[in-house]
Structure formats: C-alpha cells, structure tokens
C-alpha cells in the first residue's frame, strides 16, 4: 500500500523559472489519480518528481510515511509508463519486459512466470520475440504497460500514455486501464491534458494550472461543483458558459462578477419565474447525433447550448433560460461564491 504526499514542493529550472511553487498534495492509496491541466502547467514535472527522475528544488515527497527525497528512482518501488513508451529498440519485447527483473536478480523461473502472466493478461504473448519498432502503436502501448506491470510496483506512474494513439484505440485502452486498476488494486498516478480521459478514468482529479492546484476532487464533483472559473472552463465539452453577471436579469450574491452554467442546462423556454435569462443570436448549430450543440452570441460573449433532441434548431434572436439551481457564481478573483 502506498499513498503519496507532496509537502511544500518547489521546483524551478534555473534561478528565475519557477515551474511549481509551494505545492501540497495528497494522493490516496489505491486511488486512480489523474493530474490534469493544460500543457506547461507542471503536471509531468510533478510525476517525474514522484518517480525521482527529477529532484524537487525544495520540499518533501513521502510514500506513506517514508521520505523519498534521497531514494533513487530504482529503489522507489514504482513503475513509469512514458509518453512515447521508451521501449528499448535494441531488445525484443521479451527483453524489454524482462530487463528490470533481470537487473534485480530475480530467479529465472519467476521471471518466466511473471512475464507469462502479464503477457496473457495484456494479450501480447504472440509478439514476445519481435522488436518494438515492428509493433503498432497500440501493441507498443501494451508492451510498455507490461514492462511496468511485471515489476509488481506499489505505484504506477503514467505520463500521457494514450496521446500517441488514435481515438478509437484510446477509448478501448481507457476502459482497459480502468479494469486494470481494479484488478491490480494499486495506486495509479496518471498525467494528461485531456479532460475526457481524466473524467472517464479517475477516482480523483487534480486540476493544475501554472504549477498550482486549482481543484482536487472526484470527477463528478469537479463537473458539478467547479471551485473557480478555471475548472469551470476546463471541464466539459463544450465547457461551462461563464459570462459577466452584469447582464443578469436576476439578483446575484454579493460580490458576484461572473455567472456560470453548463450548456446542457440551457433551455429555450422559461420554466420558473426566477429563471436566469439571456438574449442572444444563434450563430451555428452542430448536429452531433445524440446531441445538438448550439453556439450563440450575446454581445461579445459566446454561449453554448446542448440539446438532446435533433428537432431543436433555433434560429435568429433567442432567449436562453437557466434555472437558478443550475447557476454557479464567481467573484472578481474568479473564485466560486455561494448564495
């Protein structure tokens, strides 16, 4: 078992290039934690510091109660899946999977048994004697996973492992990873910039921006209760509409500067008397099959609406309504405030 605790972590490259400042984070044991954020937010750096591939400038990283600061990566009982897999091109698939075990002087019989087990689980037994460069992207991905799994680590660290795969394969491996996490019952830390990956796989999401934690919660809470404008606008396709509250027809809490609502909560007809109302011009309508996404403009603000019937095809000037219960309020500092 292993929880990961980051205390007061600072990381800077050179003197004036802080990437992460005073980061505090606890990654729960056996959780599937996704570090989510736009590129350059420091999520990969955090993962690499947990792995020990990079040293923090200051602060402490604990696995359970054990200080990892001076423990080299190979002794941290972790497995790392690289974005481009980093499979040794000079070795066969079997060589790749075995390499770490051989270096740890594990008996041959046990190595063979472990390789067998992992390969049958990931369905790569037939490629064992091939070189990685002769495999497809999805196969390489699974070999990289096998190389990590065969070590039976306490913690799996994954750095955007799906970003090199096509969309269909990504969906498939996403479900595979969820099943794998259940089966292995260990801690997964997963880095991605793709909110869909985070929402679909995580038990906990850590949303990061510019080296700071914006919100840490379960995917459902992240979606329903964004704690600030950044998380409101990062999660969801399309993201939450956040508009200046000056246009509001209803009373808003003291200090409220922005009002947010999810596109699927937008209605074309008034339901209650105190519904939030905004008048806008429909700019485009995208029929996506199960849903229709309507883009509308109100002054210089863009508002998205999601409707789940293909009959919904508004045109021209329209009033959009949102029930009060579905509104989120944010203050001038873009932090959430409550009624």
């Amino acid at each position: 078992m292993s929880s990961i605790i980051l205390q007061n972590i600072d990381k800077a490259y050179g003197k004036n290039a802080p990437v992460i400042e005073n980061l505090n984070l606890e990654i729960k044991d056996k959780s599937f934690t996704v570090l989510l954020g736009p590129s350059g937010c420091g999520k990969s750096t955090i993962l690499r510091m947990i792995a020990g591939l990079e040293a923090q400038t200051s602060g402490t990283i604990l696995f359970d109660d054990e200080d990892m600061t001076n423990v080299p990566p190979e002794n941290r009982d972790i497995a790392f899946v690289f974005q481009n897999y980093a499979l040794y091109p000079t070795m066969t698939v079997r060589g790749n999977i075995e390499f770490g075990l051989k270096n740890r002087k594990i008996p041959k019989a046990e190595i063979a048994a472990r390789v067998e087990e992992v390969c049958s689980l990931l369905d790569i037994s037939e490629y064992l004697n091939r070189k990685p460069q002769n495999l497809s992207g999805g196969q390489r991905q699974r070999v990289a996973l096998a190389r990590a799994m065969v070590k039976k680590p306490d913690i799996f660290l994954m750095d955007e492992p799906l970003s090199n795969l096509d969309a269909k394969l990504r969906n498939q491996i996403r479900t595979d990873l969820i099943a794998l996490h259940k089966r292995l019952n260990t801690t997964f830390v997963y880095v991605t910039h793709d909110q869909v990956e985070a929402m679909s796989m995580a038990t906990d999401i850590v949303l990061l921006n510019k080296g700071k934690v914006m919100q840490m919660s379960s995917p459902a809470e992240m979606y329903k209760q964004p704690r600030n404008v950044f998380s409101a606008k990062f999660i969801g396709t399309p993201a939450m509409n956040v508009i200046s509250s000056g246009k509001s027809n209803i009373s808003v809490p003291q200090g409220c500067a922005y009002v947010g609502f999810r596109p699927e909560n937008v209605m074309l007809e008034k339901k209650n008397n105190d519904d939030f109302c905004i008048s806008c011009d429909v700019a485009s309508t995208e029929m996506l099959g199960a849903e229709t996404v309507i883009k509308a403009l109100s002054g210089d603000e863009i508002i998205f609406m999601r409707a789940f019937t293909s009959a919904c095809r508004p045109e021209g000037r329209q009033n959009f309504y949102v029930e009060r219960a579905n509104l989120c309020y944010f203050n001038e500092q873009e932090e959430r405030i409550y009624e």
Partner: protein, 297 residues
C-alpha cells in the same frame, strides 16, 4: 488559348530521359575523375610501361613479378598491421573520449574543439611536431622515458617500433574527428531510454552495452569502415616520417615508389589493383560479418 496547354507534356522517351539528363553533369565529372582512372589502372597493370619507350602488353607478368617479390609479404604485413592498430586505437579511444566529453558543458565544448583541431591542421605540421617529440636523441618521449630509467627508443628508425610510431600520429590526428561524430550519435539517443533503464535498475555499464552501444552502432560501423579504408590508403605520414624505410613500406607506398622513383608504371598499377581488390574484399567481409549486428532504427 488555354493556359495549361502552353506546357506541352513531354514525349514518353523524353520523360524517361529527363532524370538522367539532370544527373549527367555530375556523372560526367565522376566518369572523368573516378571511373576513367580506375579502368586505366587496371589496363595499365597488364602492360610494361615506363617513362620512355612504348607500352607493351605483358599479360599477368606484373602480377607474377609482384607475388614473387620477397618484399611483397612484409609489405602486406605492414599494411595490415598498420590498419589494425589505427582502426583499433581510433575506435576505442574516440568512443572513450566521446563518453567523457558528451555532456554539453562549457568546458567540454572547449575541449571538443581542441580535440577536433588536429583534424584541421595540415599533416605535414603534425608530422614534424611528432617527429621532433619522437627524436631519439633530444625528443620529448625519450626524455620522459629517461625519468623512469628506461632505455632510449628509436621511434623513427627501429623496425620493431616504426609502424606503431606512424600509427600513433594517424590516430592522434583523426581521434577528435571520430569523437565528435560519436558524440553527435550519443546525443541523438533520446533521454527517456536512460530514464527507463534507471527505473529498471540497470547499472551504467550494462546500460552502455545494452542500450547506448547498440544505438550508436550504425555510426561506429560507418566510422570503422572509413578508418579501415583510410588506413589502407595512408601515404602522407609514411612518406614524411620514414619514407618507407625501417620496415614501413605499405602497399600504397610501394605503388608510389614504383611509379615515382622507378617509373615502372605497369608494375605500380598492378600493385594498385591489388590494393583495390584488397580494400574491396575487406569491405565486403566487414559488411557480411558485422552489418547484421548493427541496429538500424
């Protein structure tokens, strides 16, 4: 008139000829300066040709004379010994130097440039500096050896040593160049392989032999080949340091001697043909034995 019609499509024959027309200038150049001399040497090796008199066809007589020459064996031995020493030392040392200087620190960059400089300096200057250092009576080498109470070595006149002395100069001259190319190959290896190896508990020696070396093997393979051919063709250092005396005549020097000192062009050409065939055999063997072990991405 239709604009596109102005560019008439080429006739089928012309279309086929077009690429050949484009490479014609360089092929002409190649033919005049590479293919013609090559063929001429082969032709010449079957003739008796000196600076005066007519060319007379003598068949394989030049070759027979060459193989019966008691010096031919030692000459081939010198050629091979010289090549082996140069290739071995250059490869091993340039790989070590490359490892030492690989990290792009400021100091390393300066040292890299210094290490590269012998390659730019003219061989004549290099040779004279080394000859001064190797001088038996007042050279630096014997002076240093003297500190340890060892006897003098006749670097440039002792037939047991001369070929090594010449080889050392050649190695020194090309070491930096080889090292720079290997450094480039080392730096082209993505860093994540090393990170993965570290996480796999691989020792640095093991990482070098299992990951680094296989990945730079195409470069090393190429350099070794270039060094083999270069060593077999070496002439300058021998001419300048010993002029072929004291057991330092290699095949190339033998060709030079017969052509330029004895004006026996037919005989020299036959030795030249032997050199060519020898290089071809070694290159083919090299590819046959080693090419499969080289890892290509």
């Amino acid at each position: 008139m239709n604009k596109t019609a102005r560019l008439k499509p080429l006739q089928p024959g012309m279309r086929k000829a077009k690429p050949y027309l484009f490479i014609l200038p360089s092929m002409l150049f190649f033919a005049v300066f590479a293919i013609y001399p090559l063929i001429y040497i082969i032709v010449l090796s079957f003739f008796d040709r000196s600076i005066i008199g007519d060319m007379t066809f003598v068949g394989f007589e030049n070759f027979i004379k060459l193989f019966n020459n008691p010096e031919f064996g030692p000459i081939m031995k010198n050629t091979v010994v010289y090549m082996v020493i140069v290739v071995l030392l250059t490869t091993v040392f340039s790989m070590l130097v490359a490892l030492l200087l690989q990290r792009p620190t400021r100091l390393n960059k300066i040292v890299q440039q210094i290490a590269f400089s012998p390659y730019v300096i003219s061989t004549v200057s290099v040779v004279f500096v080394w000859m001064w250092m190797m001088d038996a009576d007042y050279g630096l080498f014997n002076y240093i050896i003297g500190w340890f109470g060892l006897g003098e070595v006749n670097w440039l006149t002792d037939p047991n040593v001369t070929i090594f002395s010449i080889a050392i100069v050649s190695v020194w001259k090309s070491l930096g160049y080889n090292a720079i190319i290997i450094i480039a190959a080392l730096n082209a290896i993505p860093k994540h392989y090393y990170e993965a190896a570290k996480l796999d508990n691989s020792s640095s020696v093991k990482t070098y032999f299992r990951i680094t070396l296989p990945m730079i093997s195409p470069t090393v393979f190429f350099l070794v080949l270039i060094n083999i051919i270069g060593a077999l063709k070496n002439f300058e250092t021998i001419k300048l340091m010993t002029a072929g005396k004291f057991d330092t005549t290699t095949l190339v020097y033998f060709v030079y001697q017969n052509a330029r000192e004895y004006f026996d062009f037919g005989y020299a050409s036959s030795a030249g043909v032997i050199l060519m065939v020898f290089i071809a055999i070694i290159t083919l063997l090299y590819f046959k034995v080693l090419a499969k072990k080289v890892y290509y991405r």
